[in-house]
Symmetry: C2
Subunit: 223 residues, 2 copies
DNA sequence: CTATGTGAACAGCTTCACAGCG
DNA sequence: CGCTGTGAAGCTGTTCACATAG
C-alpha cells in the first residue's frame, strides 16, 4: 500500500546535496561580509573544493536561483538557502548535560548567528542544578525532571545531548518523551530512537580514526 | 608515468566503508565489554542500522576476517580493525587553542582509550601560557612559537585546531609548517592546506542545520 | 560571450543472491 | 545448516556537455 515514490515533486534529493547546502550558506555569508554581490557556481565551488557542475546541480534541486550569464546574487541566495534549511527563523534549543563539554557549548557563540538559540540547560546532578551556566545569555541549570515543562514552554524541538555514554540512551528516550524531535548527540553510542526523531552524531574519536587511516594510506602511497 | 591503479590489491575502497569501520570498532568494543565472543554480520549491522551484506562487504575490503558458518571473533576483529585504522599504537596529538572548547577537549577522556594521547597544548594568548590545562595528565600551556619544537620532540602528526574562525587559516598553516600532517578542525571555515595534509572538520552549526532540514521535511511529509 | 539548468553518460556504492566452507 | 565472501545487478550520486537565456 505504501507508494514507492512521493507524489509531490520531491524527485529524490541526494542527501550529500543537503549537507553541502550548509557549506554553501557558510561561504555565501562570508562573501556577503566582504560585500560581494554576485557569485558564480565556479567561484563558489572553487573555495569549497567542489566542481561548478556540482554546485549548480545541488542548488537546482531546490529551485532556480541563478541568473543566466551572471551567476547568483549572494544576498538572494542566502535568503533562499536559509529558508530551505529552516534557519530563517530562530529555533529554540535545549542542552542536556552541563559537564565540561556542555559548558563549552553554552559559551559557544556560533549558534545564535545561524538561527539556533540555546534557551535552557538541564542536568541530572543536584549539585549542578541552580548554578548559572554562563554564555551569551546567562542560563540557570534546571533539574532533568523539568524537561517536559521546558520543552512545552519554549516549544523546543531540537536538543543537544552532552552526557556520558553510559547514560546517553536513557536520556535520549527522556528527551523524546518530552517532545524533542531532533537530537544532536555527542555521546559515542548509536542511539536508538523512533523513526519520527532525527539524530546527528558528533564523534571526535571517529574523526581522529579517519585521519589516522588517511595518514597510513598516504605513507603507503609514497612508499 | 603514474600508474592509474595501485599494483597491490587495494582495488579502490569506498570512502564510506572506511567511515563505517570506526563504527564497527566502537560496537565491537562494546560487545567485548559485555564478554561477547562471536558476532555475525547480521548482528553487528542490526545495532548500527546497516544491512548484513554491507557489513560483510566493508570488512572484506580489508581482508578475510570471518569464519564460515560461525561469524567473526570479536577480539580478533577488534585487533584487525585497530591495525587497519592505525590505532593499535598510540598517536601523539597536539591541541592548539585553550579556550572553552579547547579546555573541554583536554578534560575529555575518550581519546586515550581509542589510541590518541594529548601530549601538548599551545595558545597564542600570553595570559594563558604557563597555566595548567587539567585533564587525564596535567598539561602546561605552551606559547604558539613552541609548536615546531613540540612537534619534533613528541613526533606529533595529528593536531586539533580549536581557535576562533578568524585565526583558523593562519594557525593551520603554522601547524603544517611545524610538521603536522592531519588536522581536526573545529573552526567553521574551509581550510586550505597542501595535498599531503588531511583535514577533518567538526561543525556544530552544520549538524544543527541538517537536523532543522530533516524536521521540515518530516513535517511536510505528514502534511 | 558568459554562466545557468539539465538530460545523458558515467562512476561509485549498495544490495542481491549464491557458491563455498566449516 | 549457518554464515562468510563475492561477482553481478541495481541504484544513487557526480560529471559531462550542451541548449538556453540574458
Amino acid at each position: 500500500m505504501q507508494p514507492r515514490k512521493r507524489i509531490t515533486k520531491v524527485e529524490s534529493i541526494p542527501l550529500p546535496a543537503v549537507r553541502r547546502l550548509s557549506l554553501y550558506l557558510r561561504q555565501l555569508e562570508s562573501f556577503a561580509d566582504q560585500n560581494r554581490k554576485m557569485v558564480s557556481s565556479r567561484q563558489l565551488g572553487e573555495v569549497l573544493g567542489l566542481s561548478d557542475a556540482q554546485v549548480r546541480k545541488d542548488l537546482a534541486y531546490f529551485g532556480q536561483f541563478g541568473h543566466s550569464g551572471i551567476g547568483y546574487r549572494v544576498a538572494e541566495l542566502i535568503q533562499r538557502v536559509r529558508s530551505i534549511l529552516g534557519t530563517d527563523r530562530m529555533s529554540s534549543v535545549l542542552l542536556v548535560g552541563a559537564g565540561n563539554l556542555g559548558r563549552a557549548l553554552v559559551a559557544f557563540r556560533g549558534f545564535q548567528k545561524r538561527g539556533f538559540e540555546l534557551v535552557a540547560v538541564v542536568d541530572k546532578d543536584p549539585q549542578k542544578v541552580g548554578q548559572v551556566a554562563d554564555g551569551p545569555n546567562r542560563l540557570k541549570i534546571h533539574p532533568a525532571s523539568d524537561m517536559p515543562a521546558l520543552v512545552r514552554r519554549y516549544t523546543i524541538r531540537v536538543g543537544i545531548l552532552a552526557v556520558p555514554a553510559s547514560a546517553a540512551q536513557q536520556v535520549a528516550e527522556e528527551m523524546v518523551a518530552a517532545g524533542i524531535r531532533a537530537v544532536l548527540n555527542f555521546a559515542p553510542v548509536a542511539l536508538k530512537v523512533p523513526p519520527n526523531v532525527s539524530v546527528a552524531s558528533v564523534d571526535l574519536a571517529i574523526h581522529l580514526e579517519q585521519l589516522s587511516f588517511e595518514l597510513i594510506s598516504a605513507n603507503q602511497a609514497e612508499g
